[in-house]
Symmetry: D2
Subunit: 344 residues, 4 copies
């Protein structure tokens, strides 16, 4: 399959290039960047030196790129993927957007949290969280690849929401991410000495991944969901750990909780169930497409605490995009993704 990457110079774009290099059925035909048009990708990402000799092109002639490609992956800031989507609407090329533009069924929710009008409301799109929306992804024209925090958090809570084991009004998601999640642009706040040996929260009660988690859990549970989501910045490069809390419904035991996880994920290759009382850690999934999940039932308080770990740039972005690509192409889902976490 011929694929192109629109907006290839962010961390997710570069990670996509890493994964596509190792994918036996993907050939990268175009990569774009408006701010670095004409430069070699390896001059921006020297780790790709010798592996990618391609030049970054402008996306101005997006139709040509669309014609040349079976799939385009989009790594643009939110608001811009919609333009690409509209431009390619009538063409056979399929789209996997790593941003937020195509993640919401209800565009009013999108507009309320992202503060831009949604200009491609009619787009036939599917939410790209592979394990939960696999069937819809198979034939989708546009896949709105799930966000990083949201992937970790939704996968952690979906079995409990689906089986109605928790009171969805009591959900609290306390999530922690490595700094690559903040993107590659240099900012004072993410300057090395500011973050090293430092830990803090950000965007409390207003992070845009909140409604995305709510949408998915509502869809899965059939109930309206309002929750608190709190992101934190960990002084490390990669990885997300989500610590999810909810009140168990009356009579729900640890066994029922475990059974719910086994039922939904028992056959999933990329979800590794560590079981009750265990502790996933971000380094144990680093560089891989795995999502490791464990859970703890606290009988004292009647709550369940679910822990999930992913690599934010792989299962939380580029890896999931490739997984969705495999599903959409009818390839084996692990194709090009079947490698071991980089530890230590």
């Amino acid at each position: 399959m011929k694929v192109s990457v629109i907006g290839a110079t962010g961390y997710a774009g570069a990670e996509l290039l890493r994964l596509l290099y190792q994918h036996p059925q993907a050939e990268v035909v175009h990569i774009t960047s408006e701010s670095h048009t004409g430069e070699k990708i390896a001059s921006l990402y020297p780790h790709l030196r010798g592996l990618y000799d391609m030049e970054l092109e402008s996306m101005k002639d997006i139709e040509r790129i669309g014609r040349d490609s079976d799939f385009v992956f989009i790594g643009l800031p939110h608001g811009h993927a919609m333009e690409v989507g509209r431009a390619l609407a009538g063409m056979p090329v399929r789209i996997i957007d790593l941003g937020a533009d195509y993640r919401f069924a209800d565009t009013e929710v999108y507009e309320a949290w992202y503060h831009v009008p949604h200009t491609h409301q009619e787009a036939e799109r599917v939410y790209g969280l592979a394990e939960l929306y696999r069937e819809q992804i198979k034939n989708a024209k546009i896949i709105g690849n799930a966000g990083c925090f949201t992937t970790a958090s939704i996968l952690a809570l979906a079995p409990l929401a689906k089986q109605h084991l928790i009171d969805v009004n009591t959900i609290i998601v306390d999530a922690k991410s490595g700094v690559s999640g903040a993107g590659r642009s240099a900012k004072q706040a993410n300057h090395f000495p500011e973050l090293y040996d430092n830990f803090r929260a950000y965007n409390v009660a207003k992070h845009r991944h909140t409604p995305e988690i709510e949408q998915a859990l509502a869809d899965i549970s059939g109930e309206k969901v309002l929750l608190n989501f709190t992101p934190h910045l960990v002084p490390m490069s990669r990885g997300i750990l989500s610590t999810c809390y909810a009140n168990l419904k009356e009579g729900v035991t640890a066994d029922l909780v475990s059974a719910a996880f086994a039922k939904l994920y028992g056959k999933e290759y990329f979800i590794r169930l560590l079981g009750e009382g265990a502790y996933p850690s971000t380094k144990e999934v680093r560089g891989s497409n795995f999502c490791d999940i464990a859970w703890h039932v606290d009988e004292r308080t009647g709550r369940v605490i679910v822990l999930s770990a992913i690599d934010n740039l792989v299962k939380g972005a580029a890896g999931q995009a490739v997984q969705n690509f495999n599903i959409a192409c009818g390839f084996e889902e692990r194709m090009g993704l079947d490698f071991v976490p980089l530890y230590p």
Copy 2:
């Protein structure tokens, strides 16, 4: 005042030596270690080279140490401070224990969580969280210095518990600590390559700081408190951030929340109120005795999220011990503690 440090070779002990060196009214007369008796403290902690030329003694002759000292600070593992406390019971020397032995009013709670019998139940003791128990500390014979996670968490929630602004049954404390909190003993789990670029939770639903937070909040609110406390290990040396969640009672506004913090802490030097919507960070208090606090009211969900940051070895251990020492001696509370965080 002549002071001794029993169990001086842990991180809290060494930090105490750092602070006492700079304290104008304290003279260190004995330091002890059973495993390193006869060695110089600077051979174990070379950063003290040239500053402390003392030898570590055994605590076998604790009575002599007690006679020589106005205060003894105890940095022993739990279960062992009680022995020292009993041995010094009839002497004028006063005790500040940095461990858990003297933190609980109800020794059954201690025994249930620490799995050892409490052998000094009759001890006249006070909980050593300076801002909340200042009056009792003044004349205490034994001060059970508050724990690290607990200091950050109790200070974050006390104003709301005291003013009955929150439903105490909905409290969730999601806390994150640097690795120095795990002590100085080398363990596989805390080996550098295992933790670097890694993040994980531990002791979910069973960490021993849980009942300590519950005890204090119950004392302050007059209500029974059961809560979830989840500690996480951050790949950094120092610092704790506590993210505390609770449902606001009907009609409680952001202004009422802010007023509660101002009322309880408005005159406290070591508590810096950052206000509503702000973000404390561990590096902004590193090496200092400050506790920085901010809060966020989420009208969408009806919850308050309180964030508090401390240096686990200072306000969470040695600094608070010196603060309690100052209170107990009638010194100015900032004496020897009035320095600036080390940033960046």
Copy 3:
């Protein structure tokens, strides 16, 4: 090819398992550990969970392991690989030792630096630095895989030594390694809080990689080489950067230096020449088998400074072992190693 890993529980052993999992022509048949016999490898290295379900065996019946295997990789401490080598001497199985036992042509040098008698002096062995000893590796019975610091340092200096462009008596190698190079055993010195935000040298003028670098450069240049090698510990997990200094011989220009690198390495896939004036960095090779090299000619002082970067666990250990395995099997040298560095 059937392969076994003797001593699979160190970092190099675990990294070997990572790489072999992805190798299309290798099947792991035995893995051993004396201290963890009977345990699953994934219980020691949870990142391998779901990927390796094997149990660790004892190496007591090494002959059986040898019979079952085409190759054995040895990840034992120095002194122990010799025993395995002797036990398998008469069998067709071939050996790649990741330790030092088979690296030295002159066993007196080995004994002087490693302080143990060499008990397998008659072994037919070759030094396993793939780019420089490829021909000898092809048919070797025993390959003494090059060390981590030595790989980076020898590759940096070999072109200059071979072309006699430098005065070999002026060589100084100042090297820096991530902490995984110190192994997995928990030690006080490598406890997380001790190393974080910390930097220091160790083993100055006595590190055992010194004679290994000297041996190779002497072999390549035909001159006796005595040099200084100084290792440092960087607060990171993976990666080595070697900064190598030498006086240029009279009349040697930057062009001659560049030509020497191009001549020796121009066709090497795993050596990426960044050219004069450039800066390799360890993260740009992280997780990969690349060695990135750049050089600087300082006309003011008449010296050349060569910089080389590798991942100490890949090109410095397990990756080079697989590369040697490929050479020894007649496979394409990149087989199973052709992946992209993990950045950022």
Copy 4:
């Protein structure tokens, strides 16, 4: 003494504010920043919240600031301190410049390396490396505070240069610094994910600290000195380790080397001699004004390797500035600087 800080918003400026807060004889009267005029310093450096309530002023009316101050500390980029120096030339106020403008006796050297004309050549100035230029500092009008790398490197080599124990033409300084040395401005290269778990060299053979080290060693030894200086970036916040190499002259023994260090530094409070065969580490001096030094004599190669560690923001910048201030004021040299390193 009334002091002002011109250019207070860089890391060195903020560190100076930390130290001056704790100095019993210094009162900060003005702090300036052109880009943040009118803002509170604590809005830029929240760790100073509650400690400094001052507003940043413009330096446009530098004469007024000069009149109000006994000392001005300058934390401006090179080229700009000269302007301040000229403006204050006729006033009694004394100047401590933390930049490079007043470090060079020979302004041609300055101009050759800094690529700007020196516009204050007639300035009566002294090189501000306290231990080596104490007498001159006492009455200096302008003190050109020594650089960070240079302080560590000159202190490491001065005893050997002074006693003529080394061949100064063979000196190589391989230095490693935490990222705070690169300043506070956010740059792509110093973005957190780019540097974390990464190590690299920079400015090989062209770093501006080279001629500063050469100048001092030439002054001390009476010989012309040309050397190689190679800086590296360590993924940590603070600290410099200098690894210095030189050939020992014929017949120079380890004892002679040790005697040279003892002779020059035996009475220095801020220089801690660890002795032959020891290993300073940056964390053991973190936050303090100490310079820890050790040396290794390699009889095999005839070289000496000297290791020195400082905190780049303290002894390498603000701490040394306060030390120079104390000397210039006739205060005890440790005043306001006599605190313990922050470890771990």
